[in-house]
Symmetry: D2
C-alpha cells in the first residue's frame, strides 16, 4: 500500500535558482511519515511521549527536476518490511504529473536516550500489514 499527500510549495522553500532547495524534499518526506504514522493509528507525537523514536539513520534522494513555487506537489510514500529495528520508507515527489524526485529514508527504532530498541509488537504488526513489496513504488539501491 502507499499514502499520498498534496500541498502547495512555499515561497521560503525556493532558493535563488528559482526552484525548491534540494534539502527541502527531506522535510516533505518527514511530513509524509507524520501522516502515515497517524493513518496507521500511531501518531508520531504520541509515540515520542511513550519513548518510541524512529530517528533517521540514512537518507537519499535523486533529483530529476525542481519543484516550483505555488504549484501543488504530491508526495507518495511506501513503507517497506522492517528488518530488525530498521524501517525503510521510499518516496516519490510529483508536480503536474511529472516525477521530480525519488528518495528514501531508513529509520532505527530508539528509546529517549537514543539506544536501539525493538519495534513494539503492535506497531511492527501494523507496518508489516502496510508494507509494500519492492515491486511497488521507487526503490533506489
Amino acid at each position: 500500500m502507499a499514502l499520498s499527500i498534496d500541498f502547495r510549495v512555499r515561497y521560503a522553500e525556493t532558493d535563488q535558482m528559482g526552484v525548491v532547495h534540494h534539502a527541502v524534499y527531506y522535510v516533505w518526506f518527514e511530513q509524509l511519515r507524520t501522516e502515515y504514522f497517524r493513518k496507521i493509528g500511531f501518531p508520531y507525537g504520541q509515540l515520542e511521549e511513550q519513548g518510541v523514536f524512529f530517528p533517521v539513520v540514512e537518507s537519499r534522494c535523486e533529483y530529476k527536476e525542481g519543484a516550483r513555487y505555488d504549484g501543488e506537489v504530491k508526495v507518495t510514500g511506501w513503507f517497506r518490511k522492517p528488518r530488525g529495528v530498521r524501517v525503510r520508507i521510499d518516496y516519490l515527489v510529483e508536480q503536474k504529473g511529472r516525477v521530480l524526485v525519488k528518495g528514501y529514508t531508513l529509520h532505527a527504532r530508539a528509546d529517549a536516550n537514543g539506544k536501539p530498541r525493538r519495534i513494539p509488537a503492535e506497531i511492527l504488526e501494523k507496518i508489516m500489514e502496510e508494507a509494500a513489496p519492492i515491486t511497488e513504488g521507487p526503490h533506489l539501491n
Copy 2:
C-alpha cells in the same frame, strides 16, 4: 474580510525547546499570503512573472505560546487598506482554540529590480474590496 488556512505542524519546524521555532511563524504568514493572493485572483507566482513583487519591508510578531508538533494550526490573515505602494496584512495563529501568536507584515510593491512602483489598479481594487477595518482581527502597533 479574512482568510484562514489549516495545516499540521511539521517536525522540522520545532526546535529543542519542544515547540515551533519563532522564525517559522513568518513562513506560515507567507503561506497565508500565497493563499490569499490566489483567492483574490492574483496568484503570486504569476504576479512575479509580470514584474509585480511585494517584498516584505517590515515584519513583527508577539508570541504567547509555542505551537506543538503534529497538531493542527489555524492561521488567519486580514488585508488592511493599502497606503500608497504599501500593503499590510495582520495575522493570528491558533491551535486547539488558543491564540498562540499575533503578527503583521508590511509590503511595498516593487518591480523586478526592487524599485518601488504603483500597485496595479486591478490588484489595488481587489485588495481594497478585501481589506478589513482595523476593528477586525489583531492589530499590533
Copy 3:
C-alpha cells in the same frame, strides 16, 4: 557595548527573489545572541540545562535591502537594560558597508515549563554591565 559577528550567506538562505528570505534574519539574530551569551560567560546551552530559558516574546524587523549569497554579512547586537524578567536585544545587519536590516527581539526569562521566573542575579548583573544606552545602536519603536 555591542558584539558583532561576521559570516557568509548560505545558498539555502536565499529564495527565488535572489536575496535572503526575510525570516532568515531572525535566525541570524539568534546566532548573535548565542555568541553574546557565551561572551558574557553564560553559554545558552548551559543555561538551558540549568532551567534558565529566554524564549522570544516579541520579534521585529525593518528591511531596507536583501542580503546576497556568498557575500559576508555583519550582524551586530546591543543588549538593553532588562525590565523585570524581560531582556531586549537590538540588531543591525550590514553587507559591504550598507545597512540592510534593523530589528529587535524581546525575551522573557522562563523555567523549563515555560513559567516566568526572575533572571538569576549573576546573569542580570552581567547583562546590566553589558547593556547599551538606547542612544547606541538602532532602536525600533
Copy 4:
C-alpha cells in the same frame, strides 16, 4: 586534498529530539561547497552569473549521532574526479572528535535553463587537481 570548515550549531537547526535536524546536514554540505569553490578560485555566485550551475542530482547521508547546539562542528569535503558533466563531493561531519555523519552530493553542470553542459575547461582542470582518490575520506556506495 580536502577542505574543512568549522562553525557553531545554530539553535534553529535543532528539533524537538534535542539534536540537529537530519536535513540540515545537507545545508552544511552546501556551505562547504561554497567555501571550496571560492578556495579553488571560482566563487559559486560568480559562476552562476556566468551561466555555470551545478545543481544537485543526488544526495545521501548516513547518520551515526546528532550534532548538538552551540558546540563547534567540523565539516570536511573531498572533491572526486569528475565524470563527464558530473562532480561528486564526499563529506564528513565531526563534533568533539566524533564522526557524526557521512554523506555525498552529486552535481551535474547545467546552464541557466537547466540544460546539461560541459564543465568549463579551466574549472575542470582545477577540480581534477583538487580531486582526492577514493582511498581518502569517506565514500558511501
